[in-house]
């Protein structure tokens, strides 16, 4: 279930809403999302494109692109509210307390500065170190993330590194000030499979050693299965299921999660056909009333058309589906309604 209650969560997100004002009205891209991350825990956030997973990550680190804005709810880091901090205050939190890793390592590094200079600048922004000490720390970080010949590579520019090496530099940057939480947004998507495995192994090792919590945003269920402790599945701006990764992968409770798992081709067994979820995720302008998944759901009942389910206990996980109301009693109710 949720994080152990005896030690307070590192990150608390409560009823977070992110909206985009447009000419044709306000779009709700993240709708009432709540979750916790315990210290040292890896929370995976999966979903298909447009599900709102990256926006949730960006809202937490305070990097929403205007006109996107937080419209409600709160984000607390170590008990302190951070979603309403002024820009300068947030800058101090970002980097020092929360590190960020983005998808494309080429765009998250400055092409005009050597990687050493970027590391030293970040370290000196957050830690009271002299230039020499900062450079030593930068060198240590580069060695730690597995850059060969770090002594000479530190003065190279991003274009002189390969994709995998660049992502290692980005990870070193995120770790500069020993943050408590890293928000990693599709950290391996731009990389080849063999490099992807290296980066995942690296991220896992570093977070264990530094006891850093990670919010891992990705569309790749395989990456989550290997890395995360818990996983949140997002659909159309809401969390539809959250729970320990093993239970969500093996015994998914929400019909969307079940379909999603079935649609991933797996090794070992060759099915004639993959499970498929017909249709596509609705656009933000066309989210249906009731449960947003209802037009694609095979177990839809009448209640699903009108009333939106919140997360409720469903076995070892929590799912936003009327089937699990009152611990599964809901099944019969909705079926009955569907027949009526």
């Amino acid at each position: 279930m949720a994080a152990p209650s005896n030690n307070p969560p590192l990150l608390e997100v409560k009823n977070l809403r992110v909206e985009f004002p447009t000419r044709r009205g306000t779009l709700l891209a993240v709708d009432d999302v709540s979750f916790d991350i315990a210290p040292g825990e890896v929370l995976g956030v999966v979903g298909e494109s447009g599900a709102g997973k990256s926006l949730t990550g960006n809202a937490i680190i305070g990097l929403l692109e205007p006109p996107g804005r937080i419209a409600g709810g709160e984000v607390r880091l170590e008990g302190r509210r951070i979603d309403d901090l002024p820009y300068e205050e947030m800058r101090k939190v970002r980097g020092a307390k929360i590190g960020a890793i983005f998808q494309d390592p080429l765009t998250s590094l400055n092409p005009l500065y050597s990687v050493g200079r970027q590391l030293v600048e970040t370290i000196q922004t957050h830690l009271p170190l002299s230039a020499g000490q900062a450079r030593t720390r930068a060198l240590d970080l580069l060695k730690e993330v597995g850059i060969p010949a770090a002594e000479s590579r530190i003065d190279h520019y991003p274009h002189q590194f390969s994709g995998g090496m660049r992502q290692r530099v980005v990870i070193a940057l995120a770790l500069c000030a020993d943050p408590r939480l890293i928000v990693a947004d599709e950290p391996t998507t731009a990389l080849d499979v063999s490099i992807q495995a290296q980066i995942i192994a690296l991220l896992k090792r570093l977070c264990r050693e530094h006891k850093t919590a990670v919010m891992l945003v990705t569309h790749d269920m395989g990456v989550i299965a290997e890395t995360a402790d818990r996983v949140a599945v997002m659909y159309a701006g809401r969390i539809v299921e959250i729970g320990p990764v093993r239970d969500v992968v093996k015994h998914a409770k929400h019909p969307y999660t079940k379909g999603l798992m079935g649609s991933i081709p797996s090794l070992g067994i060759r099915h004639d056909r993959l499970t498929q979820i017909d249709g596509a995720m609705p656009r933000l302008t066309e989210i249906p009333p009731g449960c947003a998944f209802n037009p694609r759901c095979t177990e839809r009942g009448r209640r699903c058309l009108g009333e939106r389910p919140d997360l409720m206990a469903a076995g070892a996980t929590r799912a936003a589906c009327w089937l699990h109301e009152r611990g599964g009693v809901g099944t019969a109710v909705t079926k009955e309604l569907a027949d009526a």
């Binding site: 299965a225 081709p265 090794l267 067994i269 993959l274 596509a280 995720m281």
Partner: protein
């Protein structure tokens, strides 16, 4: 051409080099040498009628270049391509060439870039029919396009819309409908699902399997996603730096991988079953194809490399129903290991 009768598509010694040198004047002034990328460096593939042959490999291994060579988007530097017994590199009249070209079509990776945004879907799908003169009159054309759209689970009314009105998965259906318009027998699919979300990917893969059965299509399927390849292929070829390192029937390749690179690739597949299988991330990255390593191009990353591997390029040898290009396998230094995958319940 002496062609083995049963082979539908045959690539022999196929090579494609790209000149990526600096301009002539820069080369002369700065004394820089010519730079040649050996994108495809001697590939032999035979594809039987009705099968799905997949090419896998990491970016830059030349798999997309092979796809483009096969459909004639690039002329080969060397080697031959035979399609149903016809040498595609031979000189022919335009009419003869068109008759052959009609029988093969391509599906591209990015459905956002491969459809003309200014054309209506009807015209996009009708273009091959018009180009090859396959319809008799307007009503016949409309009937054919309607049928094609229905075949990919769209409606004939969708023909009046523009590509931007469709989602990624629907656009890929449109490009499949267009590819099927000329009634081809052979489809080259270059990463057709890589740009799509998993649930949509499942829809497209299911559709491709259905169409293959119904229309007796032969596929050349290019992908970097091994799980997808496992699901869809009859046989698989693994490419590394422009060369085929291993070709085998799908089940054999995944159960008893021979080449060290194939083994490494299989190790990188994230484990959804969480059986606790240890992934061994292999050090190193793919070297530049401009200056590939000598001998076996995989030797700098290979844990079993010897001096012979550094000097001599391995020849493909027949093993266990497939072919492998590896000295360690040929010399019997490297035992074949059985792999099992936790069968999900």
């Amino acid at each position: 051409m002496p062609d083995g009768g049963s082979q539908f598509v045959r690539l022999a010694g196929l090579k494609r080099y790209f000149d990526v040198s600096a301009p002539w004047l820069v080369r002369v002034i700065e004394g820089r040498p010519r730079q040649i990328v050996q994108a495809v460096d001697g590939v032999d593939i035979e594809i039987a009628k009705g099968e799905t042959f997949s090419l896998v490999g990491e970016s830059g291994c030349g798999k997309s270049t092979v796809a483009r060579l096969v459909v004639g988007l690039y002329p080969p530097t060397d080697g031959s391509i035979a399609f149903d017994g016809n040498d595609m590199t031979a000189r022919r009249s335009q009419a003869e060439m068109a008759a052959l070209r009609r029988r093969m079509q391509m599906i591209f990776q990015d459905p956002y870039a491969s459809l003309n945004p200014r054309w209506r879907v009807f015209d996009i799908v009708a273009e091959p029919i018009r180009a090859f003169g396959l319809a008799k009159g307007k009503t016949d054309l409309e009937a054919r396009v309607g049928e094609l759209l229905r075949q990919v689970r769209l409606t004939p009314a969708d023909g009046a819309k523009y590509p931007h009105e469709f989602s990624g998965g629907q656009r890929q259906r449109i490009s499949i409908a267009r590819a099927l318009a000329s009634e081809p027998e052979f489809l080259v699919c270059d990463e057709p699902t890589s740009a799509l979300d998993v649930s949509v990917q499942a829809q497209i893969l299911n559709l491709m399997v259905d169409l293959q059965r119904r229309l007796k299509l032969t596929y050349l399927f290019i992908s970097h996603n091994l799980a997808v390849v496992y699901h869809i292929s009859t046989r698989v070829g693994v490419m590394y730096l422009g060369r085929l390192v291993e070709v085998a029937p799908t089940e054999t390749l995944f159960r008893r991988p021979k080449h060290p690179y194939t083994r490494m690739l299989l190790d990188t597949i994230p484990d959804l079953d969480m059986s606790g299988r240890q992934r061994a991330p292999v050090a190193g990255e793919v070297p530049s194809p401009i200056d590939p390593p000598s001998g076996c191009t995989f030797h700098p990353r290979c844990p079993f490399a010897t001096d012979r591997c550094k000097a001599e390029r391995p020849r493909p040898i027949a093993v266990d129903g497939g072919t492998v290009a590896c000295h360690a396998i040929e010399e019997g230094r490297l035992a074949v290991e059985e792999r099992s995958y936790a069968a999900a319940t």
